[in-house]
């Protein structure tokens, strides 16, 4: 059965690009437009196998979302950050919060798929 990946990004363009890459790799894809909407979906849907999440978003940013997930019953869901950011301090903060990976945009679809395959195996 196909694994379900949640894509959290305020850019519809990026969600569409990620959806295309993951669908072609055999994943089912759900979308959320900000960290709060992502958190709501993760909390409500225990079929989500992994999350791809932007950092800079309105309402709730991606690292805040990771921190909230880490403090919830769904803390085992692996989250990979997909962002324009590349600063070590931010990467370390995400890692400390429980994120499982970091990818800098523009992303290479094969790297994203490989990362998710490893995390949901």
């Amino acid at each position: 059965m196909a694994k379900t990946i949640l894509v959290v990004d305020d850019s519809a363009s990026v969600r569409q690009q990620v959806r295309l890459a993951l669908s072609q790799a055999g994943f089912d894809v759900l979308e959320a437009g900000d960290g709060q909407a992502g958190l709501d979906q993760i909390t409500a849907n225990d079929g989500i196998a992994a999350v791809v999440c932007d950092v800079n978003m309105p309402r709730m940013n991606g690292i805040e979302m990771v921190e909230k997930v880490a403090g919830s019953p769904r803390k085992g869901v692996p989250i990979v950050m997909l962002t324009t950011e590349g600063q070590p301090a931010m990467i370390q903060r995400a890692k400390a919060a429980g994120a499982k990976g970091w990818i800098v945009k523009p992303f290479k679809p094969d790297l994203l798929v490989a990362a998710l395959n490893k995390l949901v195996a």
């Binding site: 519809a12 070590p88 990976g101 970091w102 945009k105 790297l111």
Partner: protein, 168 residues
Amino acid sequence: MPHKDSETISNLVDANSSALFENYNAPIGAATSKDRTTTIAAIIGYSGRELSGSLCITTVPEVTQKTYGGEAPADWLGELANQLLGRLKTDFAKRGAEVYITTPLVLKGYRLEVCANEEEGIESVLHDYDSDEGPVRVMFQYEFKPGAGLSPTQYVEDSMDVSEAILF
């Protein structure tokens, strides 16, 4: 009198703009065409302890389609602006200046022409380019806090570049 880092910033904006469009299969070069009419714009702001300002890209839908690889969603140029500013943010961080980025705004119109803001203390870098699909203008505005500036480039351990991926 221009800020001491104005040339550095201009070079960074130029290099990162070229790299971004190259990365999305729409290489750009210095503008030679006379028709500079653009109809779509993306604006994104940033702020930090050393400097703050905004970045604006104006172009035409043919360019956004080329970079997207098909019919581009309305917010795609905003994502390009976000990625360009993200690259600049990384370069600034290597020079001791950390900035925070806002979410982008995309505008459409009939003739969109941005020009330099001439308020005192605000400086603007403006680069005009051509791609095979049409014109691109990148404007980067910045205002340094009094006495602030960029430091010499430092190696930042564990900093990640574009398209790099890591699993923890």
